[in-house]
């Protein structure tokens, strides 16, 4: 799992989308992150981390390659704008609802 900076993550995510245009899927996971870098300690052992409340973890994968990044409050505005644009630009293979052409087609077949 490669942990990247926000910008590098967006670049790599673009590449993942481009690679999967002909086959395969892109899976993106989003989860709240409290900043811990060590596993949860067993009972009786003191917690050695400081809980951070303002971060989230984003992971992406095409089944083979895995990338991830951490976004915090300071970066979220900029990151979210770029990220939304990216999603909307690449998830364009879906059907567009076109009522007019649909009704025309059914009329033609009748």
């Amino acid at each position: 799992m490669v942990l990247l900076e926000n910008d590098s993550f967006l670049t790599e995510l673009t590449r993942l989308f481009q690679k999967c245009r002909t086959s395969g899927s892109v899976a993106i996971t989003l989860k709240k992150y409290d900043g811990r870098t060590k596993p949860v300690p067993r009972k009786g052992h003191p917690e050695s981390y400081e809980p951070a409340d303002n971060k989230c973890l984003l992971r992406a994968s095409d089944g083979k390659k895995k990338i991830s990044t951490v976004v915090s409050t300071k970066e979220v505005i900029k990151f979210q704008m770029a990220y939304s644009n990216l999603l909307r630009a690449h998830m364009d293979g879906l059907k567009k609802k076109d009522k007019k052409s649909k009704s025309k087609k059914t009329k033609a077949t009748q």
Partner: protein
């Protein structure tokens, strides 16, 4: 694992589930260009909510919900609890 039929129900249930336990809930987005569909899942490993679509108009909705949850995660807990 039930797939929601309407976006409104799914969005409401997803936000509600997130607010019950922000640390446990994760959001998974799976896009398949070759099949032309998009699937979103929100789960806390006990409850699983899913929505699937092949409509372009849903991409914007899904991306907005994703962004909303992202912002909720990075903001301090000010939604459910009041800061003293």
């Amino acid at each position: 694992m039930p797939y929601y039929q309407t976006w409104e129900e799914f969005a409401r249930a997803a936000e509600k589930l997130y607010l019950t336990d922000p640390m446990k809930v994760r959001v998974v987005l799976k896009y398949r260009h070759c099949d032309g569909n998009l699937c979103i899942k929100v789960t806390d490993d006990a409850v699983c909510l899913q929505y699937k679509t092949d409509q372009a108009q849903d991409v914007k909705k899904i991306e907005k919900l994703h962004g909303k949850l992202m912002r909720l995660m990075v903001s301090k807990e000010s939604g459910a609890m009041e800061m003293d």
